[in-house]
Assembly symmetry: D2
Homo-oligomer: 323 residues x 4
């Protein structure tokens, strides 16, 4: 089944499953899916429970929670707050932290490439408290965990693998949990900036906008790692596949084709993985308003983490307390 | 021949001609082409001399000079200076300005969308002198023209058409020439950030990254307009066409197709203009390092204009004189 | 009384009066003052009603409304919204606009010098609608005035006086009102980023962070001009005066001084206007966190203008309507 | 002599000595000074050689090299290159590195506070090579050391002391040398952005724009630390002292003072350290054009480090080799 990975050119487990279920069957053995939704938000939980399911999905065993809201592209404070709350709730459930836990938040990505800058910009908005533990008043202490945060930069700028930097920090700071924030690539433009994914699997090699060479995982760091990701670019292969679909689905073009219904997985793989990257090189496909979108979604992600970590703070007055 | 416009989805006259000559013939009547090159730079002059040629090319009658240097993507000061000098020479030839001329430089585009920000960033680097005319020393005055410059912003932020703003300024400032700097879209990723185009036709409606609704031309402004443009994005249609080409040219895929050699112009047009924009919506395709590239090319464009306008300044000491 | 201007080195009428009333008397003839306050906000209205009062105050005849809230330095959404609402109410009262009025908003200042960038950053957040008048639905039209906006840049970058640019725009756009947003200098660090001043007098020459050479007033533009200003820097003279006060007020230093109680206005003037500028040159005094403060206050100012101009819009959904 | 520290409110050893020698004597025992200069640049070497000299100067024992060039405020490529070369030479002399050494460059400061952003911005311009050691061609390898670099952020944003972060990195990366880049505070506005200081003492607690709580030194890190600093702000106390000097030196004000010639060091200390900070709070004094200056000086500092670390690279083509 190895050739199926050609179809799952997405960092979202949700999309990996959608891409597969279109082709194979509604149910994938070892993959549990649960969905709940209201008018504004769709929440999906994908559990990959077996090594076989891991292979089919091209995603590590573990739990992936996706929060989707098309409205996130429009400045809309109440929706942003709802997403923050949902993200906080899911994060609390996934993290199972004691009140005395120390958490290290890592903002991955290159702050000078806008669609890759989600992590660094979210870090600027995290309420860090580790350095304040001794001076916090007792009543505040109950609701304020020990949080620290860093945007370590990318290999091309630091000359160090991110995993090396984080290993160095973990050995010094000894956190109970690492949370890693990253910009992702999606298979569908509909998901860009509208979706937040949490996963208890950490960050895998090769994922994200900047293509990590090593992962940030419990194996590499020695502590649990929760990844929070938001798609900010579309794979160029998406446009390529859309083009092929347009050619096939629009009657007037049919005369040019024998049939592509039977385009084999192996050929799809060849097109997406080998041929197009040569043509496209270092191009990326991103929304025109990506600069504004990144700022808004960084607020939502950081806000969700802040609420999960410091549950009893009055956020309207948080700056009066802490700064 | 109207359907040919489907093929010229580029703001570069050079590419418009390349796209045509691949399909029709080496010579297009009424289009004169002159090329000179060395190891680093290719300079091409395209003259569109007849109304018929204007129709075929989908570009206004006039002169288009293109300076191409693949090396521009790499920080390379001597090459940048060579490009500035070439740009200055071509601009001097095209503008035919008296020493006492006043020139208004307009930086088009949205400063908050990186690939569209070339114009505003170049404006910040123009050596403006109009407000200094009375205090300049006589020896300096000979080499310093009266230059002013503005980045007026885009319709969605100002609520005013750029042409309205510039008309208001022209009526007040009464310049002898308007130079308009704009980010363009190219048909080939090879041209992005490596090419500067000068044209004595002004800016046409619908061109540029931000799709102008009205043009900046001698007709609309009452004074000559020279446009300086640099491609910073690729049309998504480029990826679509590349995909089609990949499908056709790679033997293993041949079995899916009848022949596409005869893909009609009308069908090409349908694909590029009607089908893909629906699929792609507000996405743009741009190099990953576009933030850095834009800064570098803004320096080159502004430097070329500065040298053309103020020929006798010692640029190493220019800030000592003027600031 | 001309020497008194030495004391009013502030762009705030409120401070000009405070500085004077410390020295002269509680009441200045021709200056009417009205104050209202609650726990968070102090609102002061200063009316300068006679040419004599204009001379004494060093501020043009007219109405100055000041909204002060120390809490504005801390990210605090409910307080920001309260300030927006107050600003909107005061602006509505001052502007007396018909529903069909067209308003041109000008963001003064240099976007590359952070403390001077308030105007340009606020402009990016104004909801412009002039270009949408024809496509707005009738029910929306009642609550949406025709607004346009521009950040024209500063003399050193454009080579054009701001007043020339605005005159050109006014002659083309023919607005019923100009609103000018500007960063100001305060005499007291307590006022920096905590105070918004509205004035129906326009912008005077020499005021603001960037020291305008010409004013934006009804006289120069031919239409009413409302100025909205926020102090973002402190005059260096403030530090100098604070130093002198420290020296005088702290008992241990008293032995160095004869008395400075009688420091004459003329001498004060000499210190502040002639001696210190030589020493200080191009330095400015500003809060360390000015980058963040400017963004927050730009949101409040733009939000107040938006609410005043478009009273019936549901702001939570405004982006769905307009973008 | 402890009260003398009141006079050395500067991060520059050069200024510490100037401030002292005005008051005490031309020679300070244990402080060796060597100066060389040409028309553009003054190079000064201050050696603090005894514990007594350390106390008097308020600076750690060690070598401080200062490169001053007033012209650095004006964009002037040849002068920038000369400074880079000088900085590279001095750094080579001070570092005494083997060809196989690994160097970790740390950019201190807060990237969101412009005058404190020198370190982070310089880091973006360092040519990092540690991750390329295996793929470099043999001829390139001779001239390319193993360099890595990071801007760790500040305590208020990370919740971690910088020294903790760097200790974690040093334990993982095991560099032979740490170079720390920092923005400094000067006692004289003349030194701001015109001076680069190298010191083999590392970074002391309490120094820099952001006031470090712990130092980065050989003691805390276990490897040699070279500090490179550039003054980007002036102490507010400078303005206060300038004011006092103005008051004393200008004849017309003399009548207000008994005499301040004998202002005791203890009183000076009280003014500068206790009284003024209360008045000035979180204000900083910085040049108006600090945004532009920081970028230019970051280029010079990073360029000097690059040349010192990679002596045999052809810098015109460096990007072709490495990126």
């Amino acid at each position: 089944m190895e050739h199926f990975t050609g179809t799952s050119r997405t960092d979202l487990a949700l999309e990996a499953r959608e891409l597969l279920t279109k082709q194979v069957s509604e149910d994938i053995p070892g993959v549990l899916v649960e969905t709940s939704e209201d008018e504004e938000v769709v929440l999906t939980k994908v559990d990959i429970t077996t090594p076989e399911a891991e292979k089919i999905m091209g995603k590590k065993q573990g739990t992936y929670v996706t929060i989707e809201a098309q409205g996130l592209r429009y400045k809309n404070t109440p929706l942003q707050e709802k997403i923050m709350k949902l993200l906080a709730d899911e994060l609390v459930g996934m993290a199972e932290l004691s009140k005395k836990a120390t958490v290290l938040v890592i903002g991955l990505g290159n702050r000078n490439i806008t669609p890759d800058a989600l992590g660094p910009r979210a870090i600027d908005k995290i309420v860090v408290t580790r350095h304040l533990q001794e001076i916090l008043s007792p009543e505040l202490k109950g609701g304020v965990r020990s949080i620290c945060a860093i945007a370590p930069g990318v290999l091309g700028i630091t000359g160090m693998e991110t995993v090396e930097i984080v290993q160095g920090l973990v050995s010094k700071i000894k956190p109970d949990l690492v949370i890693a924030i990253d910009a992702l690539a999606a298979a569908s433009s509909r998901r860009v900036i509208t979706t937040v994914q949490l996963a208890n699997t950490g960050i895998s090699p090769g994922s994200g906008v900047g293509n990590k060479r090593f992962g940030l995982t419990q194996e590499s760091l020695g502590v649990p790692v929760i990844a929070i990701g938001v798609p900010t670019v579309v794979h160029a292969s998406t446009i390529a596949m859309d083009t092929i679909n347009v050619l096939q689905e629009h009657a007037p073009f049919a005369r040019y084709f024998k049939s592509m219904e039977n385009l084999s997985d192996a050929d799809r793989h060849t097109i997406l993985r080998q041929v197009l990257p040569e043509v496209l090189g270092d191009l990326m496909v991103t929304p025109k308003e990506v600069d504004r979108f990144i700022d808004d979604i960084a607020v939502a992600v950081a806000g969700g983490i802040n609420q999960a970590m410091h549950p009893h703070i009055d956020y309207e007055n948080i700056h009066a307390y802490l700064h």
